[in-house]
């Protein structure tokens, strides 16, 4: 297969004051005809920057410091802007990560796809309309006609991404760059979009540069893989070679950090119940525009139990109600009906004062490492606040904070620093310390590792496993990522549209799912399907 796009020794410089001098350092990649090249790396690896460099859409202040990008016999970096513009959208096209914000909210889908034609061709309106409909059909949008007339906010996330793909492939480009196009989507939708991209690629023979952080995706669709770290290319080769026999230490570390999809054998579990969730329902009343009230059923008669000392995983996609359930457990929300019993005390029906005492024993770890810590408080204070609010003397509370820091693997002298001085993984540890400060019996973890890089994710999961063994914690672990759930949960409950559709031992649910939705969910997880040659 011949080379379509060749990046030669590309270096990109960051503006002064950034955390490193070069965003990309001497990167050389080739993209061949009719193949999917996956560029994989963690945050800060420079993978998105590579895509932006090819399109010459680098942010202000960031500039090319050396190298060349050869396409159809020319160096893209040396082209005048007007010629580069001719190539964008017609020969080289790009699909972005966030479909909601990547489309102009004030113009219809059909108008925006049509713009590609209007910019690069001189076709008439009727012809453009015909082609737009054709492309919308090609990306398997139900009812292409109304989709063309619709505005972005009227479509779902998956539909918007399909529209973006239709827009990118409208003029049959030679190269398609996809920058994490499925990361913001639900697992099942993600699977559909991945297959769509692969099918279209096979049909049209487009060369695809697919950027991702997920090795499962790499296994699912890549023909060739390139691994990046801190702006450098560390490994490159055919997918089977890199996945089976990684040569670079970093690649090996990344692959090891990806949780496998099979659950470890079940641990012995106590017969006592730590938490009983009984028939909990919750409806949200949102005031729509004006006087109309819209009600959404977030939780529908959920019944689950958490054995003492074990971990119950709650998995589901967005809108399944798992976050609502988590918030009900720690009394951030009050359920409409049902009971949540811990040691025979119904948490859902306590008064505010009683709840304060009771909820000391059930604490929460949050998802966003950047939003869950008050930026204006020192890290130690954040951990000591809880005990102080419950009557512990400040000096004792601070001493406890220091020992908790040590427990979660942080330097005890770091309690004087502010949150912004810590990394994402470290901030999650601080959040964990904060939750443990009140010596709870039950820990509710709401997507605690979803915002972390995969290597950091593995560390935090390992920490959680150690802590639960040491402190005898019972855990409710909420996640959308089934791989993570498989690793840390003893029992798993699958939720959809506010209902529990399946519940059982992790090993059972993953190896022999009974409900159709669970089966679809597991099937949708990106992974290597068959050995590649």
């Amino acid at each position: 297969m011949s080379t379509t796009l060749a990046i030669e020794n590309l270096s990109v410089a960051l503006p002064q004051g950034a955390d490193r001098a070069l965003a990309l350092e001497g990167v050389s990649l080739t993209l061949r005809q009719e193949e999917i090249l996956c560029v994989v790396g963690e945050s800060g690896s420079g993978k998105s920057m590579t895509a932006n460099a090819i399109m010459r859409l680098l942010p202000i202040g960031v500039g090319v410091a050396g190298g060349a990008i050869r396409f159809e016999g020319r160096d893209l970096l040396a082209l005048p802007e007007a010629e580069m513009r001719h190539l964008r959208g017609s020969r080289i096209a790009m699909v972005f990560q966030e479909p909601m914000t990547a489309l102009n909210p004030l113009r219809s889908i059909g108008d925006q796809i049509g713009e590609t034609f209007r910019t690069h061709t001189s076709l008439g309106r009727a012809e453009i309309e015909r082609r737009v409909l054709g492309h919308l059909e090609e990306v398997r949008l139900p009812d292409p006609r109304s989709a063309a007339r619709a505005y972005p906010h009227e479509l779902s996330g998956g539909q918007r991404q399909r529209a973006m793909i239709a827009m990118a492939l409208a003029l049959e480009p030679t190269v398609l760059i996809a920058d994490e196009p499925t990361t913001a989507l639900d697992v099942t939708t993600q699977a559909q979009i991945l297959h769509l991209i692969r099918d279209l690629q096979r049909k049209k023979g487009t060369a695809v540069l697919f950027i991702t952080h997920d090795f499962g995706v790499v296994g699912e669709i890549a023909d060739r893989v390139a691994v990046m770290q801190n702006g450098r290319l560390v490994e490159e080769g055919r997918a089977a070679d890199v996945l089976d026999r990684p040569s670079h230490a970093y690649t090996r570390m990344l692959l090891a950090a990806v949780p496998p999809l099979a659950a470890p054998p079940a641990r012995p579990v106590s017969a006592e119940t730590a938490l009983n969730i009984d028939g909990v329902s919750k409806t949200y009343q949102t005031r729509g525009s004006g006087l109309r009230k819209r009600s959404t059923l977030a939780l529908d008669n959920v019944t689950l139990s958490l054995p003492k000392g074990s971990t119950l995983g709650i998995v589901g996609e967005s809108g399944s109600g798992k976050s609502t359930l988590a918030k009900c457990l720690v009394r951030l929300l009050t359920p409409d009906t049902g009971a949540i019993r811990m040691n025979d005390v119904d948490l859902a029906h306590l008064s505010r004062r009683e709840a304060k005492q009771a909820t000391a024993r059930i604490q929460m770890v949050f998802q966003d490492p950047y939003g869950s810590l008050n930026p204006r408080r020192r890290a130690g204070e954040l951990v000591a606040q809880g005990p102080i609010a419950h009557g512990i003397a400040p000096e004792d509370a601070r001493a406890r904070a220091k020992s908790l820091f040590a427990l979660v693997g942080l330097d005890p002298t770091a309690t004087e620093r502010f949150p912004h001085e810590f990394s994402g993984g470290q901030r999650q540890r601080i959040g964990l310390a904060r939750a443990l400060a009140l010596e709870p019996q039950i820990l509710v973890a709401d997507e605690p590792v979803s915002s972390l890089d995969v290597s950091v994710q593995a560390q935090v999961l390992e920490l959680l496993k150690q802590l639960r063994a040491r402190l005898g914690l019972s855990m409710v672990f909420i996640t959308h990522d089934l791989r993570v759930a498989a690793q840390i949960c003893d029992r798993v409950a699958v939720m959809k549209d506010g209902r529990v559709v399946e519940e059982g031992l992790a090993a059972d649910v993953f190896s022999a799912p009974r409900h159709a939705y669970t089966q679809a969910l597991i099937e949708a997880i990106p992974r290597r399907r068959q050995p590649l040659f």
């Binding site: 951030l332 604490q363 939003g371 869950s372 810590l373 609010a389 959040g431 904060r434």
Partner: protein
């Protein structure tokens, strides 16, 4: 502190604003030094043009009072009223906005209704009426200006509280047992204040402009040397002695400009991400 000043000083316009503001403050502080006599006392022949007399270097007004003295003493009035009215408006605004934004529900509805009422009614008309009812002393004028200026800080504070209330660190505070008062004052408020503080400069600038407009219409305190009063006086002699109106107007312009530039500089320094905007 020095780090902050260095951030602030990166913008040339912010520095210009600071210099101008310091100049005006200096005028206010040294008014008693340079012009120890009552500024509203007769000082010379009426309608003397500037630069004619070494002692009366900005000339005299219709009654023969020293214009330069009135400018310097007027600085005190403008800055005083500006600061006091701003403090009143910001305090009311923050309290109401915080309560409405934090508790939502009925408290929020009531606040929104009241804010809407204040917005539908032209605030200058309300100011006129307050002054008509309560009189035109310095105190009543200041309080009246404060009373018509609290809506924007309230709306700003409410918006900040609404957005911060749902942030995870506040939810975390709830789960570890922090009470409402602690959450409002020690967790949310310090994060909500910066944009409101910056807006305070806008409120102050508007307060100075409102007072001068009232004075121009003879509705402010006639017994103090205010810039607006002077402009109003100068209106009668616009054809022949237009400087009587021109000079105090320039003083107002410089002061309001200075306050605005300082406010903008503060905003840029507090949000370095938005620099270059």
């Amino acid at each position: 502190m020095t780090g902050f000043f260095r951030l602030y000083a990166r913008s040339p316009s912010a520095l210009v604003g600071l210099v101008l503001l310091l100049l005006v403050i200096a005028m206010a502080l040294t008014a008693g030094l340079f012009f120890p006599k009552n500024p509203l006392a007769l000082a010379g022949p009426p309608l003397l043009w500037p630069f004619q007399d070494a002692h009366l270097w900005l000339g005299t007004d219709n009654s023969g009072r020293d214009i330069a003295a009135q400018i310097f003493h007027g600085a005190r009035i403008s800055l005083l009223i500006g600061l006091a009215a701003m403090a009143l408006a910001i305090t009311i605004g923050i309290i109401l906005g915080a309560l409405a934004g934090f508790y939502g529900g009925i408290a929020d509805d009531i606040l929104m209704r009241i804010t809407e009422a204040f917005q539908t009614l032209p605030n200058f008309l309300l100011l006129l009426m307050l002054v008509a009812v309560f009189g035109s002393t310095l105190t009543t004028v200041t309080i009246a200006i404060g009373l018509v200026s609290w809506q924007a800080p309230a709306r700003l504070t409410r918006a900040e509280f609404l957005s911060l209330r749902t942030r995870e660190f506040i939810q975390a505070g709830r789960t570890i047992g922090l009470g409402d008062a602690t959450l409002i004052f020690r967790e949310i408020l310090p994060n909500a204040l910066p944009p409101v503080i910056v807006y305070a400069s806008v409120v102050m600038a508007v307060a100075i402009l409102l007072e001068s407009a009232l004075a121009f219409l003879n509705l402010s305190d006639p017994n103090v040397a205010s810039w607006g009063n002077l402009i109003g006086l100068g209106r009668a002699v616009l054809r022949t002695a237009w400087y009587v109106s021109a000079i105090p107007g320039i003083a107002i312009l410089i002061t309001v400009l200075a306050v605005s530039l300082v406010g903008q500089g503060l905003n840029d320094a507090l949000n370095p991400r938005l620099r270059g905007r």
